[in-house]
Symmetry: C2
Subunit: 121 residues, 2 copies
């Protein structure tokens, strides 16, 4: 066992308690980080933005990202698994679309954050 993990140094016991209580109110913390993980790749983020307001198929998205259809399909599978997109079959073609508006809300806040920082806050 690591001694550093046992005899632990804590300066602000009160703040630690506040943080623990607060984290208790965020029950699905793992799922939340999974959601961010899904959006943490430029390619997947492009896919999500491309699906804002329209349905697209795998081959379209592969063309957009300039990757193989297999690679695109793997990325899309992650987005499906994380419940960000869903699909609808029309004959041979699977059309992908966003599950809800949360994704775009996240994208907008993220864009605001990075643009504000670029302007020196």
């Amino acid at each position: 066992m690591n001694p550093e993990l046992c005899e632990r140094r804590i300066i602000h016991e009160d703040r630690l308690q506040i943080a623990r209580d607060y984290l208790g109110r965020y029950a699905k913390l793992e799922s939340m980080s999974d959601l961010f993980k899904a959006m943490a790749d430029p390619g997947r983020l492009k896919i999500l933005l491309a699906l804002d307001g329209q349905e697209m198929c795998v081959c379209d998205l592969a063309a957009l990202l300039e990757v193989s259809e297999s690679a695109a399909s793997h990325q899309i599978r992650i987005l499906r698994t994380m419940n960000l997109v869903k699909n609808r079959r029309d004959g041979q073609v699977l059309y992908y679309r966003l599950v809800d508006d949360h994704v775009m809300q996240l994208a907008r806040v993220a864009r605001d954050h990075v643009t504000e920082l670029a302007q020196g806050r």
Copy 2:
């Protein structure tokens, strides 16, 4: 060169063009995915939530996450690099705090997303 990347199959040229134009308006796409990457780890997400409304030092955060102070410091460095937190020195202690409110906005939307999905939308 991969032939699949050259003779590309595109079904919806119009939608592809819409997506390309739309992505053009998201200039800082890499920075956006970096921001999500920073929040894509449960430990770092805990740190960010813990800092909602209060300052904490590295040893507090290490205690909260139950990891070594070195590990906590490495995680915090990522949050600093991605401009999510900043610090203030008071003597020997470095106090960390959130840069702005965007982080908490993101956390709230993410929480709403995962709780709604858990309830079957």
